[in-house]
């Protein structure tokens, strides 16, 4: 069957195609697979489905190298989110996604709808969302827009997440001038399901009805300001098109409850949220996975305002909408559940067996496309990749030629927006709701328990753009190592990874090279830790005026506790305990916060020995399972001295540390403030040293001092500071700089 353009719609030709962001080659391919000129609606549909965002055309080839399978993997690749088996019949479903550009345009709504989107990816799998995290990158703290963006984004994440009742248990925030014109907002969500309850987004059964549920469709987020210029017919409706989508967390909460309840009826064959490219992607992807066709009756789609064109209905990205395939004859059953939650399920189409994606409007066929050409057969590019002549460096402005004395440097680092307490941020997030939070924000990794079992999960999201800027491969490896370490310090065994790859314009060979090297690093580290990459997201074109962000692979690691009582936290608990340091390599100032603050001339990065990294993780998990240690803390931004101070900041009783490193006067900065290397600080009763040592071997464990009940932190004769003073600096820096209480 052929499809028709509607009266008044612009002529479709190469020019119009280009205005839709399609290349001539892509336009030719479209004509080939249709055997005719596309209608205006079809052109819009192809342009979104073949966009980088939906088709992953630049990254797909390389993502294939990631290890996505493993004994624990309970589904995922190809679905809306990945799932790992965590025992006792439970699976953890999780994914991370970017909402960078919308958050830069309108920080509150951009971040809020980012949270809403990732939540839908999780509950569409049949999992109840139980924990969220976020990774935020802002421009330099003093940049005029940074405060506005920070409070907007944090407000939006809280405003949405708090209202749907999913605790935000961890995250990270970084400030760096490299993000002045392009912030990053990556949102993570984890859900819990019984293994047998996992839902699929694979359509089955020709003749089954397609149901639409959730908010009505408006003109939100329809792409292509460029194309509107060329389309007088909707110049007027274009002016009505909001550039910003507004989230409605209340409706989302109703959707979560209603969908999870509806799934229990068993009448749902397939279900998917309407995310990017809304109705178009959800319908074509569900049909595509099932190798079937689908027919949509656009006249039945609930509209927020009259007069939307088929083009607008299909491309709208209005929030809080779900599309599902029901078992024929059981629509009523489902409708009843949705009515209970004051939501209306409307039948908008049906599954067909002709493998075509068809849209009808006022009795006319406005689109008739082979389903496969929208998904599997979308173009895939092998873009040229080449290292840049000169490695780019992310650098703080050189404040002083030489660093201050160690005590002052420590205080400066603790006050740095990149290191100081994030309390101002996570105080605005509900990290308590759902009664599972064992360890919330403020520790290495967050911990949630699994009700009705001894099990628990640890999770943390990390990134390290400064190292990635120096070496995109090592940076990615180091990021996975840090995430694994954060989880293992808590005592959980790293089990699975999700990732968000934030890079610049892939059409530039050096950016493509960064992306490929980043994926290779992620692959190698994931293999070493036997942590499959079960889901992820790629965000490209993160650049403004030709200046790209530093390569920023964001890694979220999830670890499993057999027994959550075996958890470990980062702060000292027992005066007299011995303080041990385990490290895989000497630290370096390259790409460190110290470097950014004091502009020392930092050398390249140490290579990372993944076998030693694996041993470190094994040792940490072993110590926790054996109940051998009182605390374990990962050395991250700010290096050893900062981590040691953080370990002293125990809210139920401050401790101190007496440490002897026998450092050479002068060249101590590396050891005190260097980063890069994987290092952990452990405290334990003296009589456990041997047992701990065997668990880490062949890594060497170094006893370097003792936990004291005097609230002083002393390292050699280099640093001797009052812990309360340091803690005040650490706790008040962010709120202080923001002039808030």
């Amino acid at each position: 069957m052929s499809a028709v353009s509607l009266p008044g719609e612009p002529v479709v030709d190469v020019v119009q195609a280009r205005a839709h962001g399609l290349t001539e080659g892509e336009y030719a391919a479209i004509e080939r697979c249709l055997g005719r000129t596309p209608t205006f609606t079809e052109l819009g549909v192809f342009s979104v489905m073949w966009s980088e965002h939906c088709s992953y055309k630049s990254s797909r080839k390389h993502l294939r190298m990631l290890p996505m399978r493993g004994p624990r993997v309970a589904g995922g690749p190809g679905e809306n989110a990945g799932a790992i088996d965590i025992g006792d019949g439970w699976v953890a479903v999780f994914k991370i996604e970017s909402h960078n550009h919308p958050s830069f345009v309108e920080p509150y709504q951009g971040a809020a709808t980012g949270v809403g989107g990732i939540l839908r990816d999780i509950f569409t799998m049949g999992a109840r969302p139980i924990a969220s995290m976020n990774s935020l990158k802002f421009g330099s703290f003093d940049h005029p827009r940074t405060r506005y963006l920070l409070s907007g984004v944090v407000g939006g994440i809280g405003g949405y997440g708090n209202c749907v009742g999913v605790p935000t248990v961890a995250g990270e925030v970084m400030f760096d001038a490299a993000y002045n014109a392009n912030i990053l907002v990556n949102a993570f969500c984890l859900g819990l399901a019984r293994r047998e309850e996992l839902q699929s987004a694979r359509a089955r059964g020709a003749g089954n009805p397609v149901l639409y549920v959730g908010s009505a469709t408006g003109r939100d987020g329809i792409h292509g300001a460029s194309l509107l210029a060329s389309a007088e017919f909707d110049a007027e409706s274009a002016s009505k098109r909001p550039t910003v989508q507004v989230g409605d967390p209340f409706t989302e909460k109703l959707l979560i409850e209603a969908c999870l309840e509806a799934m229990k009826t068993g009448a749902i064959v397939a279900i998917q949220d309407m995310g990017a490219a809304g109705l178009t992607s959800s319908s074509s992807e569900m049909a595509g996975r099932g190798g079937l066709g689908i027919e949509l009756d656009l006249d039945r789609v609930p509209l927020r305002e009259p007069g939307l064109t088929p083009y607008e209905i299909l491309l709208s990205e209005s929030q809080e909408r779900m599309l599902l395939v029901a078992e024929r004859g059981r629509e009523g059953e489902l409708a009843a559940v949705f009515e209970k939650w004051d939501l209306h399920a409307v039948t908008v189409g049906r599954i067909t067996d002709d493998a075509r994606w068809r849209a009808l409007y006022c009795g006319r066929v406005v689109a008739d496309i082979p389903v496969a050409s929208l998904s599997d057969e979308a173009p895939v590019y092998d873009r040229p990749a080449a290292p840049p002549a000169m490695p780019m460096r992310v650098r703080g402005t050189k404040k002083r030629p030489v660093a201050p004395e160690p005590g002052a440097a420590l205080r400066a680092l603790l006050a740095s927006p990149n290191i100081c307490s994030r309390r101002w941020v996570y105080r605005q997030y509900d990290w308590i709701v759902q009664s599972n939070t064992v360890v919330g924000p403020g520790s290495d990794a967050a911990i949630v328990r699994i009700k009705g079992s001894r099990r628990g999960l640890a999770m943390k999201v990390d990134s390290n753009p400064r190292m990635c800027a120096i070496d995109p491969y090592l940076g990615a490896v180091a990021t996975v190592c840090e995430a694994a370490r954060n989880v293992a310090c808590a005592g959980a065994r790293p089990a699975g990874i999700t990732n968000c790859l934030n890079y610049g314009n892939p059409e530039r060979p050096e950016i493509m090279w960064q992306l490929v090297r980043g994926i290779e690093g992620l692959r190698d580290a994931a293999i070493a830790f036997e942590t499959p990459v079960i889901s992820g997201n790629v965000s490209l074109y993160n650049e403004t005026e030709g200046r790209a962000i530093p390569p920023t692979p964001t890694i979220a690691m999830v670890g499993v506790f057999e027994d959550v009582e075996r958890r470990v936290t980062q702060c000292f608990k027992q005066p007299g305990d011995v303080i041990l340091v385990v490290s895989t390599a000497p630290p370096s100032l390259a790409g460190s916060e110290f470097d950014a603050l004091f502009g020392t001339v930092a050398e390249g990065l140490e290579r990372i020995d993944l076998e030693r990294e694996r041993k470190l993780i094994e040792g940490l998990v072993g110590c926790a399972e054996g109940g051998l240690v009182h605390s374990a803390h990962d050395v991250a931004e700010g290096g050893f001295a900062v981590a040691l101070a953080e370990a002293c900041f125990n809210l139920d009783g401050i401790f101190g540390a007496e440490v002897e490193l026998a450092l050479p006067l002068g060249g101590a900065a590396e050891a005190l403030f260097g980063e890069g290397a994987s290092t952990v600080i452990i405290s334990a009763p003296t009589d456990r040293i041997e047992a701990i040592g065997t668990l880490f071997s062949p890594l060497e464990i170094r006893p370097i001092g003792r936990v004291s009940d005097r609230a002083r932190l002393r390292i050699d004769s280099l640093i001797d500071e009052d812990v309360r003073g340091l803690m005040a600096v650490y706790e008040e820096a962010l709120a202080g700089r923001l002039g808030a209480k």
Binding site: V164, F250, R427, Q428, D430, S435, N436, E565
Partner: protein
Amino acid sequence: MKWGVVSFPGSLDDADALYALREVMGQDATRLWHKDERLMGAQCIILPGGFSYGDYLRCGAIARFSPIMKSIARFAADGGLVIGTCNGFQILCEARLLPGVLVRNRSLSFICDRVIVRVENARTPFTCATRAGDLLRLPIKHGEGRYVAPEDEIRQIEERGQVLLRYVDASGAETDEANPNGSMHAIAGIANERFNVFGLMPHPEHAVEKMLVGGDDGLKLFHSVIESVR
């Protein structure tokens, strides 16, 4: 004893209250649906925290009109025990079952934290298992928890001992820093004149298990109710 926990559209802590009552305290607790009018023989009814109707317009303003609220008003008038935590507190105020109202936090932002409250009046069904002056560590999580009422009303509330919980610091002293949201008289929880309706911003249902971030000081309040009923 028999408890009822109300679920409004947008309620969040209803599941947590049910979990606390059933799994942790072994109580007999049922979920009460907002469209329903039956109270299922509950001896104490909890209006949970959350964002009923998205907290749109004013917190609790819309939930107040749910069918179940009619029955609850009658139940309260007959002396039945009603507890509203957080959003539940806001709903009770909007429904005029409690005096005063809760407005935006002084900081204008949402606050999730652990606070310390001092028991001001232990001779009520909600606090009888505590002693006046006891300090409880409880979680709060709200954007609109600032208690306000006309001064003369506040004076009466104070005189009649209707203030059950007040925000204080670790030493038990009332300080400005210890008052997280700027509530008048640092009020964290109040009862009605008959002491059978209790509203508080802190979340006792999130303070019933040592293992979790909320600790377990909330148990004292639930045990009070259980004692007072038997």
